[in-house]
């Protein structure tokens, strides 16, 4: 009986080895894509924990990414701290914001929580316009970042970006995996499934919910910090509501509540549009048509995946594995998320109906 922690670390090390191998074998642009994917994995993992494990929907995690990114840009520009320290501070600042949002949203459920987080995602970038001298306005702030000297002058920047982003992503995944298996994770699931029962069992519901927001915001903040250094610019145009929505769709498409799902979802977010663009442009269509095909295709992918694999891609992967007789170590409990969008009383698993309100 191997310790689950060892198994998680083993998987993480395997992941690290794969990344290092790929980053060396593939070209520089692919390395950059690996870095991009790792950024999304970090953010989506936090969101999938928030929405999948604790049942709170958030359409505003892009705002937390912006906070992490701007913190990073400001610190690198004004203080001379090493990047790891900056990363930690960015995570802390985002976590603090997450706490504030979590407290404000503690009593909110379903669409009301969605509405507040949506407006958070829309409104927060405008702070850059309100404080243009510090935050750079529409043009944003340049991010000053040089790769460490110990790598030598010939080490490709994109490979370093891939390594550091993947390292942060893997660390975050390991931490979240442990958190999910711990009492904290069990509390989250209890609160998600039935708040009243959880409260009766002695769980501090509000605290659990706020903690989930804190963790999710910290992950998003770290992702934002990574985004800042790989793109070298932080500007409000990079943190539109499209980003927040992409994070949520990534989490659900990949498999809500699962960390592997965060990886599949991030692959979809980064690779599907590029692939679709290549296919569209190779057919010699007019610009208006060719540039919109990837968008339409992305929409079709979202709809089809949700209809065919209701448990997301990870659900599909597990199903395939089960077909071959390989049972998953833990049944993937894609429990319904009643807080997200309570159904009209149709979920068979629930013991009692939620009545519609007048």
């Amino acid at each position: 009986m191997r310790s689950p922690l060892l198994r998680i670390l083993g998987i993480a090390l395997l992941g690290a080895a794969i990344v290092v191998l790929l980053s060396i074998k593939l070209n520089a642009f692919r390395d950059y894509q690996i870095a991009e994917i790792a950024v999304y994995v970090t953010a989506v993992a936090g969101l999938t924990v928030l929405t999948g494990l604790s049942g709170q929907i958030s359409l505003g995690n892009g705002a937390f990414m912006a906070i992490g990114a701007y913190t990073t840009a400001l610190m690198l520009a004004h203080l001379g701290w090493p990047f790891v320290a900056v990363l930690v501070v960015a995570g802390i600042v985002s976590a603090a914001t997450g706490a504030i949002v979590g407290v404000a949203a503690a009593r909110l459920h379903g669409p009301y929580l969605a509405g507040v987080t949506l407006m958070l995602g829309v409104a927060l970038p405008f702070l850059a316009f309100v404080y243009p001298s510090t935050l750079g306005g529409d043009q944003g702030l340049n991010v000053v970042y040089t790769q460490p000297a110990f790598l030598g002058a010939n080490f490709p920047l994109t490979r370093w970006q891939a390594w550091i982003s993947s390292a942060v992503a893997l660390v975050v995944l390991v931490l979240l995996a442990n958190l999910g298996r711990s009492r904290v994770g069990r509390n989250w699931r209890a609160v998600r499934d039935d708040e009243v029962a959880a409260a009766l069992a002695g769980i501090n519901v509000a605290q659990a919910r706020v903690l989930a927001f804190v963790v999710s915001a910290a992950c998003a903040g770290l992702a934002g910090a990574l985004l800042a250094i790989i793109t070298a610019l932080v500007a409000p145009g990079a943190f539109t509501i499209t980003l927040s929505i992409a994070l949520l769709t990534g989490a659900v498409i990949g498999g809500l509540g699962t960390l592997f799902g965060a990886i599949w979802g991030s692959l979809v977010i980064v690779l599907v549009p590029v692939y679709a663009t290549d296919v569209a442009t190779s057919h010699g269509l007019s610009t208006a048509v060719a540039s919109n095909i990837p968008i339409a295709a992305y929409g079709v992918v979202l709809i089809l995946v949700m209809l065919i694999f209701p448990q997301g891609i990870q659900g599909g992967v597990l199903w395939v594995l089960r077909l071959f007789g390989i049972s998953a170590a833990r049944p993937s409990r894609q429990a319904s998320t009643p807080d997200a969008m309570p159904s009209a009383g149709e979920t068979p698993a629930r013991p009692h109906e939620k009545e519609g309100t007048q």
Binding site: F29, F129, G137, Q139, G140, T231, L233, A235, P236, T287
Partner: protein
């Protein structure tokens, strides 16, 4: 989404003579006959793959453009227009016999996407240069990357003066008239013709509007300005801003706005019964685009508004020949190319822009030599470029990477922009004078292709 309409720099064409001399010198082929038209030199040097993106038969360049998303309307016409001009050149001998392959990718005006697609173009597709990258925040995301990679970053489609940093970003060049110069030219016109009147500013809350206002303030006395209102492209309800300008009593409103918001400014003024004189930046004043936006309001039963009526009297500036001047050789050339290669799009300001900047690129490529390296292109522009379709000279030199330096003032009537007065050039400082250009604009080459 935030949008800043930043494109186009101007370059004074003072170096026309120097260019001609340098072109002869830089030409690597031994025998270039100076007689006759711009026929390709009779050099016998073979075409080689002299740089990334250049093969014996093709030159591949890349760009990032907002083809989808809220910033796409209007701007998404530019790249196809450039591609149309390149197709024309390719069909008529190409650049030294090579065909230009123009690969432009969609970034939806999102700097993160720009960073990604530009890396794809440079690291995977190995383009020779990045041409006409559109947008200020978007291009800022890739400026340092391109310069670190030593990829020519030519003719950025943005009027920010941030592309003019030859010491830190030697690969980057602007093209269109920058917003500070534009503000100065418009401002000086207003100060002269509307002395004693009350002026109001209406501008986009980003570097496009802010730089424009900077230029205006250099020429318009502060005491004349009674109101300053901003807008953000995501919020179309500018009623309150226009009401505030109305309340301030502004008789002339200077607008650094994109076409949609120029149209909204007009419509909201109509609602208030407010009819100030409108002075609009070139970015937002293309008569065809404006008429298109306002045309529906002409077809109303019983109403007396008319599309062209709504744009009548708008004062603006232009640094390319006006579309209405059909006798102008440049307009004739670009219309011919448009009709042949880009006929579906309306022949409007965006298409004119796309073709004009493409023409400038071909000029630069021809100057760069028969088997150019990346540095050759940069050096060719540093040596100065002939004015081409721009009405004023470019500023290009090794110490100045700004583009067009001047413009003329014009008035819109009956849906057409007519030039008023002569072309004026200036710089970006408060003390820099505004001087009139006396030399007439050169005609377009008969073949439609720049001479090498």
């Amino acid at each position: 989404m935030n949008r800043s309409r930043s494109h186009r720099l101007r370059v004074p064409a003072i170096a026309v003579m120097a260019t001609a001399a340098l072109a002869v010198a830089a030409c690597s082929s031994s025998s270039s006959s100076s007689s006759g038209s711009g026929a390709s030199s009779t050099s016998s040097a073979a075409l080689t793959a002299s740089a990334p993106g250049i093969t014996a038969t093709t030159i591949t360049i890349g760009s990032h453009q907002p083809l989808t998303g809220p910033a796409a309307p209007g701007y998404s016409e530019i790249a196809p227009a450039s591609a149309a001009y390149f197709a024309y050149v390719n069909a008529n001998g190409g650049v030294n016999g090579r065909k230009i392959v123009y690969k432009y990718l969609d970034d939806a005006y999102n700097p993160t996407t720009t960073a990604s697609v530009v890396r794809q173009l440079v690291l995977q597709d190995n383009v020779y240069a990045i041409f006409d990258g559109l947008g200020t925040p978007t291009h800022l995301a890739v400026e340092s990357f391109l310069n670190a990679q030593k990829v020519p970053d030519v003719f950025v489609a943005s009027g920010c003066d941030c592309w003019n940093q030859p010491t830190t970003d030697p690969e980057t060049f602007g093209w269109q008239l920058d917003y500070i110069r534009e503000g100065k030219i418009l401002g000086s016109y207003i100060a002269k013709h509307f002395a004693g009147k009350k002026i109001g500013y209406f501008y986009q809350d980003d570097e496009f509007g802010q730089d424009g206002v900077k230029g205006l303030d250099m020429e318009i006395p502060k005491s004349m300005v009674v109101g300053r209102q901003t807008y953000v492209p995501t919020n179309v309800n500018i009623g309150p801003a226009v009401a505030a300008l109305h309340a301030s009593g502004a008789q002339v409103v200077v607008s650094f706005s994109i076409p949609a918001f120029t149209a909204l400014l007009k419509l909201n003024s109509l609602k208030l019964g407010y009819s100030p004189t409108l002075v609009v930046s070139n970015v937002g004043s293309d008569p065809i685009t404006l008429s298109g936006l306002l045309e529906s309001f002409a077809k109303q039963g019983g109403a007396t508004v008319n599309g062209n009526q709504l744009t009548a009297g708008i004062i603006t500036d232009g640094y390319l020949p006006t579309l209405g001047d059909t006798s102008n050789s440049w307009i004739a050339l670009f219309k011919k190319v448009h009709d042949q290669y880009d006929a579906k799009a309306p022949f409007d300001g965006n298409v004119l822009y796309g073709e004009a900047v493409a023409y400038t690129f071909v000029q630069a490529m021809l100057k760069a030599g028969r088997n150019p390296s990346r540095a050759d292109l940069v050096n060719a522009i540093n040596a100065g470029l002939p004015q081409g379709p721009a009405v004023a000279p470019y500023a290009y030199s090794s110490t100045d990477h700004a583009g067009v330096t001047g413009a003329y003032i014009g008035v819109i009537n009956n849906g057409v922009l007519t030039q008023e007065g002569s072309v004026e050039t200036t710089d970006t400082t408060a003390s820099g004078a505004i001087t009139t250009v006396t030399a007439a604009q050169q005609s377009a080459p008969a073949s439609g292709i720049p001479s090498p």
